[in-house]
């Protein structure tokens, strides 16, 4: 407000000193002015808002909520894809593990069968050799018995003749044989 209230013209609502008489709100002289400018202001504001501002802000808000909705949908899609990828990865891992254990089992079986075959072969070889050895031992034993018999007959003949008897070859042999059997 201007500070020169003393210069204000006296009227129905203002006294000579520039102060209001009663309430300025109720001064009828001023009402048409206020009403006119109020109506002008409201019309201007209405047109500015309804023609320019409100459609623009409404469009911006709609666009923003659309963008947000889209982004959320996109994020949901990505999440689903990530879950699928994880499932695929898990499945691949499980498959690989199963494959690996299968291969291990096969390898173990192959080794086992090889081993069994080798063992059987070795066993057969060992038993063949054992049999051979036993035969050789039996031969050696038999030949040893024969040699002992010969030596014993000879010794017995020599003993008999040395003691002055006549050694009957047949008797000596029979006696030695009987002794050896005993």
């Amino acid at each position: 407000m201007a500070t020169d209230t003393t210069e204000a013209t006296a009227g129905a609502c203002v006294d000579a000193g520039g102060s209001a008489i009663g309430m300025p709100q109720l001064c009828a002289d001023w009402m048409p002015n206020q009403i006119f400018w109020l109506v002008v202001s409201l019309i201007v504001i209405y047109f500015v808002l309804s023609r320019i501002a409100l459609p623009r802000i409404g469009a911006v808000l709609a666009e923003r909520s659309g963008t947000i909705t889209n982004d959320i949908a996109k994020a949901e899609d990505l999440k689903i894809q990530a879950v699928e990828a994880e499932a695929a990865y898990e499945k691949a891992l499980a498959d690989a593990r199963a494959e690996a254990s299968k291969i291990v089992a096969e390898a173990r079986a192959a080794i086992q069968s090889d081993l069994d075959a080798e063992l059987a072969k070795a066993d057969a070889q060992i038993s063949a050799q054992t049999a051979e050895s036993e035969k050789a031992i039996a031969e050696i034993r038999a030949s040893a018995t024969d040699s002992i018999k010969t030596v014993a007959k000879d010794v017995a003949k020599s003993l008999v003749s040395a003691m002055g008897g006549t050694a009957d070859a047949k008797t000596v042999t029979a006696a030695v044989t009987a002794k050896m059997k005993g």
């Binding site: 407000m1 209230t5 709100q25 002015n33 109020l38 501002a53």
Partner: protein, 250 residues
């Protein structure tokens, strides 16, 4: 303005001088078309509104600037209010309600600037808006609902004996609406500003001036709240009256 006249020693209270309408140019009489301080401050309100709602949203940014956020906040607030109170079919009246709200809001807040003029403290101003809403809503009610609009006054839930009495009360309260609607706003703004001026008058006394200035500060703080709340109240009551016109059945 009251203390400008330096009368010797005594306190001078002219708390209502701040509401005097003065021509902007010269000292002539105030005709209906004269550009006055009312014109000036309404014009400033219009410029602020254009600044926030048109300049602020110029970028149409998806991520808003500060000014655009303010505009969007007010837009969203009033839009939601209209939608919540009047329902979906009230949304087409949103621009009118938005016009009233931003005008009152900006006029109220600009009036809080020192040396400014409080346009919304004038009963002529608020009465035009109050009666404008009243007449518009009443016409709208009859146009949309015909004679069924009178069902607003005829409580079907009440006992038959009471219905005529209630109808009389309802009719009276309906016609009191625009009066209370407009005087509530003007009275709040005028009273607050006048009280600030009274405190300012006391500030001329050295002894009480600290209290007076504290009082001005406190009332100013209160007025900051009142300015927003009264704009809100005027708007939500407009929405409520509009709802009655759209859906007169209780």
């Amino acid at each position: 303005m009251a203390t400008e006249e330096h009368s010797e020693g005594g306190l001078v209270f002219h708390p209502l001088d701040q509401f005097i309408v003065k021509p902007l140019f010269g000292d002539g009489p105030v005709h209906w078309y004269t550009p006055t301080n009312v014109t000036l401050w309404m014009g400033i309100a219009i410029l602020c509104i254009i600044g926030i709602f048109v300049m602020g949203s110029r970028g149409r940014a998806t991520i808003p600037t500060r000014l655009q956020s303010i505009g969007e906040l007010i837009y969203g607030f009033i839009y939601k209010m209209v939608e919540d109170v009047t329902g979906k079919d009230g949304v087409k009246y949103f621009p009118y309600i938005m016009t009233l709200f931003v005008f009152i809001l900006f006029a109220n807040y600009l009036a809080l600037l020192p040396m400014s003029y409080s346009a919304t403290s004038m009963i002529a101003v608020t009465a035009i808006m109050g009666f404008g809403v009243f007449i518009a809503v009443t016409i709208l009610g009859f146009v949309l609902n015909g004679a069924a609009f009178l069902g607003l006054f005829w409580m079907k839930d009440a006992p038959l004996v009471l219905r005529p009495i209630i109808a009389v009360i309802e009719v009276i309260s309906y016609f009191v609406r625009p009066v209370s609607h407009s005087i509530r706003l003007a009275g709040n703004i005028m009273a607050g500003h006048a009280v600030i001026k009274v405190f300012a008058g006391f500030a001329a006394l050295t002894l009480v001036s600290p209290v007076a200035i504290l009082g001005i500060t406190a009332i100013y703080g209160l007025e900051v709240l009142v300015a927003g709340i009264q704009a809100y109240v005027f708007t939500i009551l407009t929405c409520v009256y509009l709802k009655d016109a759209l859906h007169p059945a209780h």
